[in-house]
Assembly symmetry: C2
Homo-oligomer: 235 residues x 2
DNA sequence: CCGTATTAGTTGTTGAACGATCCTGCAATC
DNA sequence: GATTGCAGGATCGTTCAACAACTAATACGG
């Protein structure tokens, strides 16, 4: 019996060890490509070409497509194929609406799990050091980690999953901007303030701050969007 | 160019006209069977058998499965097949947690779209007439319509979609109960009260009422769950 | 009685095939 | 000149058959 400390470690590893189907692995591959903007929004993903490129059959590739369509990274048009999503302004607004609901309510959680609070703290410091060193790309991912940690305060697997999806979509949207590098930097202070309020148990104030924060971020993003829209319209 | 007012009307109709793929139609068929409890939770869905039953190929059926797995009505175990979901108590609790977040925030929406408020009213009266006539099945669906309408107050397509998914799962969960018929009847009064508060613009009070409402419903459901768990354990 | 090897049944994945649908370009028409 | 109609080609939707990979159940041997 004698269960040592390696038991938990082992079971946590088993999750990673659990083999995944080919379709899931292909979906993972495509996901990173799409999220990191390597495939521009609006691109049609040819079944034949991609199947050949990753050397899987068309059928399995189609299963991978279904997964990513459900994650809203791709859109599927019958008899036309799948395309990298081009989010409209309305869709961006809706994304932020849901974000606001989830994050503000998470931050109000009376006694958030300590693990989530720790993640919040580390995300804040991660962002600060990255900013000090001028690594704006890292600031962006730190900011994402911050918001994922905010979602985790609710202690809900479902909300965690939703937040991951929202953040993935958001990263996709960011790529329409000309210089997303420094976008997140101004929000570092707010992140720290929100983190402090959460630790102090002042969830209501944190929620209020987060609400205005998200409104501002949305407006900034929408504005960047309009610029691009005008540029492409005049081109 | 002279675009008349019928143009918008026409384009709105084209959405309904959009044909659906075979996989989606099969998914729809399976969905109703699962939701209405005709296939008991835990059942394994054999690819071969079902493919033959609905006369589609295994590949197409697998696509349909993927859709329903993403809707959380089925679960997929690698190399073992897909099963009708058996929700654990934790999962039910998590479902209600998300429900509470979405519905309570929706009900607080400052100026909800009039169409949603109308749906709210009609759902209330739908439930009342069904109860008067003793049609408990109908009371259940009216109650579901009520909560969908609550979600619609936010005016967010995403939240609408989430609510539909949550309600579908909930219907699946209800089937573990012995007599779900009269389950919803006691909530009719609360529905009417919440509807009135929303129309009066008193969202905060409506949210508070809804919160206790959902807590009570969850506890009642969990209790019913325990009964079944004991019954199956002793069997 | 326990553990192991075998076997049967199911899922995972492939490759090819064919009909259905969409897009492109060109000719015909007003 | 702009719109309509019509090939032709390309791509998607779906099916089918086959085999590899895996699981679960059975039979076997200690």
């Amino acid at each position: 019996m004698n269960a040592g400390p390696w038991l938990a470690e082992l079971s946590s590893g088993s999750a990673a060890l659990s083999r995944r189907s080919t379709a899931e692995r292909v979906a993972g591959l495509l996901r990173t490509h799409v999220i990191e903007g390597r495939i521009p929004p609006g691109t049609r993903l040819s079944e034949e070409d991609i199947a050949a490129a990753v050397s899987v059959s068309r059928n399995t590739l189609r299963e991978a497509f279904r997964l990513l369509v459900h994650e809203r990274l791709l859109v599927h048009e019958l008899n036309r194929g799948v395309f990298v999503r081009e989010a409209s302004l309305d869709e961006v607004a809706d994304l932020f609406r849901l974000r606001r609901v989830l994050e503000c309510s998470s931050v109000r959680t009376p006694e958030p799990p300590e693990a989530a609070v720790a993640r919040l703290r580390s995300a804040v410091s991660e962002g600060e050091t990255a900013a000090r060193e001028g690594q704006w790309q890292e600031v962006g991912t730190a900011n994402m980690h911050f918001h994922l940690a905010v979602g985790a305060l609710a202690g809900s697997p479902r909300i965690d999953e939703l937040m991951e999806q929202l953040m993935a979509e958001l990263r996709l949207v960011f790529h329409v901007m000309a210089a997303p590098q420094k976008f997140h930097a101004p929000y570092l202070e707010d992140n720290a303030r929100i983190c402090a309020l959460v630790q102090a148990g002042r969830g209501e104030e944190a929620a209020a701050l987060l609400d205005t924060y998200l409104t501002r971020a949305e407006q900034q993003l929408v504005q960047a969007y309009r610029v691009v829209a005008n540029a492409t319209a005049s081109a």
